[in-house]
Symmetry: C2
């Protein structure tokens, strides 16, 4: 009665594993600013619940395994506004972006196959790869370059006959980098040369700052090579809804992914309904407002972090994360220190150590990820706590 | 740019793959009685939507990866009524029973490992096994025995060093068999002897007929060996909600499964809320009513099927399915025939060919599964269509 190697190999979520320390800090009366998880504090638009309430189904039946027709249509309209060219039949509704990634990987890679990631990367890519017995091969982006895309040579170094795809998020979780057209093209050209798939996680595409434009992989050719992963979690502050999208113009690939979709029957239908309400009743004005809110928060986090001596990072351009290298020996120990042994007037801050966002053992040891999901004043306070905390930690 | 073997190996859902034939029949003006899929026509209790509406969350946040505390508590109370002994911390809320099975298999088996199934079995077990590169080894239950549990010797024959678990549904989908205490014990004893896990899919436990009692695997020892898979889909006619449960008293196993749960963040929160409403506000009276409705339908299907000459089956005892062997050469061809070439007064019936519910190639060729999810009059009509259809098919 043994556990599987795939389970034993799996790390605990780097975003969640230190939560007991935060709970303990709260028990001891401290206030904790949570910048460790991408859970926005913004209200979910009431259009979500309103649509559910006014469209109660007598029988909450299975939907089509690819999703409710009205939701697939609503997403097709949405993607047309972004010139991504997805039609109804290219769109599969999934249980969060997570499931879209699992379907993509399942459809194109077998145990022992390799997937190229750009590290630091969204930590759960690793969990999905472990579950499916895939190996992540990492090219490394550097804090001092603002985590810009590594060169083609770096990709060449990790490529092998077993490589099946490149997966990346743009705008990036955890770094906040937004790739230029040239950078996205570098990935596409590499995939073309090697004849592998590109899985483009564009969940944060609305959140690009300072007038910078999101570049979708769908601006390139040949479209058959691309899988776009999407989610409403951040865009509409509806993380718990668990509605995502797997989208591809590659009809044969879509058919393969549909087999996995059919085996789990369908994605959550009530939340699918709510999402129809969001997509039909909210337009670019809503997401523009959201973007402005996050840009203000980005400004707040940038202003305060810039005051920390010895920090290495560049101004983040999108998503609602920033990764930074701190002048500490071990960022995980530093996070524990902030929660256990430090406070300013009874307040402390929690961030995510970045080691869990790397595939390469021992990397990211001085880095952290900050999710700027609170109001600017709270963010500023939290950053000041980090600043003073570094001094105290290093004097210890 | 190839697809994975795990995808290519996967069969299309036997429950859904013939749907285009049904759509075509409808296009040609036929009415189709759908007995092919376990989608009840009964209304979802309004307590589901009422609870969601009166508990609107300002921010639909991620829940704990194991589920909302109030839902885990409500399930703990529910399992206490069934004397299953699960406490709050043994219960993980999943996205349907499907995800509970995926977590169970992921946590205990690696690629190439084997899982024993009792065929015919719930077809999607095969899909999950393909996704995770596991092999199903089947012991065979026979229609002429009412699909009773095969002997211990049969289990011995398929056991190998690579066997990690037995998975079975009780009451059975697709056969309608309900295992006696002796039968469940036979599985438990075998697992004990071989030191493997037991995954007990008890989704239909409320639906046992003629006074027969459901026997949970949790009545046996040692409890650390057992994983119970559950779902609200059928119990509350809420298939689209996608709320299931992974439950085990084995704390180490629970911790392993939690890693997979964390990587997908959480199960759908709005439906979790609705399920709190169901569990808190409906008691045994509700499920008793549901059971009686299905028993009446079972009586209807049994009465009409008994009139078919050459049919092989026994009176089903639970769930809302019955599998039968028909006097036809190929049940899949027969189902297509009913949809394409047969009707009585413009009406025809759709059922699921049973070949897709077998792991052993070429098996189940004469069998079908009937889901008695319609009203008794509709079921009777559909059975008469099958009866006359057999004559017409064999005269063809």
């Amino acid at each position: 009665m043994n556990f599987s190697q795939r389970a034993l190999n799996m790390q605990e979520s780097p975003i969640r594993k230190l939560i007991p320390y935060a709970e303990n800090a709260k028990k001891n009366g401290k206030k904790v600013y949570h910048l460790n998880i991408g859970q926005p504090d913004l209200e979910t638009p009431k259009e979500f619940y309103d649509y559910i309430e006014s469209n109660r189904q007598k029988v909450i039946s299975y939907s089509h395994s690819a999703g409710l027709p009205e939701l697939r249509e609503a997403f097709a309209d949405y993607y047309k506004r972004w010139n991504m060219g997805f039609e109804y039949e290219d769109i599969m509704i999934t249980t969060g972006g997570s499931e879209a990634i699992i379907f993509a990987l399942s459809a194109i890679a077998d145990p022992g196959d390799e997937i190229i990631v750009i590290e630091p990367f969204y930590a759960n890519y690793r969990g999905f790869a472990e579950m499916l017995n895939l190996k992540l091969k990492a090219v490394r982006a550097l804090p001092e370059n603002g985590y810009a895309l590594p060169s083609k040579e770096e990709f060449e170094k990790v490529y092998s006959e077993k490589t099946r795809a490149v997966i990346f998020s743009n705008p990036s979780n955890p770094t906040g980098a937004v790739y230029t057209s040239e950078e996205v093209k570098r990935i596409v050209d590499f995939a073309e040369e090697k004849d592998i798939f590109v899985i483009s996680d564009e969940v944060y595409k609305e959140f690009t700052f300072d007038g910078r434009k999101h570049v979708s992989v769908m601006e390139f050719e040949p479209k058959e090579r691309f899988i776009v992963v999407d989610s409403i979690s951040k865009r509409y502050s509806a993380c718990g809804a668990r509605i995502g999208v797997f989208a591809t113009k590659n009809k044969k690939l879509f058919a393969q992914a549909m087999k996995f979709a059919q085996s789990r029957l369908c994605s959550p239908v009530v939340a699918q309904l709510g999402t129809v309400g969001l997509l039909k009743n909210l337009d670019e004005k809503y997401t523009e407002e959201m973007k402005n809110i996050y840009q203000q928060r980005r400004d707040a986090v940038y202003e305060e972090l810039s005051k920390i001596e010895g920090i290495s990072f560049k101004k983040p351009q999108g998503s609602f994360y920033v990764s930074v290298e701190l002048p500490v020996d071990d960022s995980e120990e530093f996070v524990k220190f902030l929660l256990n042994d430090f406070d300013i007037d009874g307040e402390t801050a929690m961030v995510a150590p970045l080691n869990g966002f790397y595939a390469t053992e021992g990397s990211g040891k001085k880095e952290i990820r900050i999710a700027y999901v609170l109001e600017p004043q709270a963010i500023k306070k939290a950053c000041r706590i980090i600043k003073e905390g570094i001094k105290a930690y290093n004097e210890k």
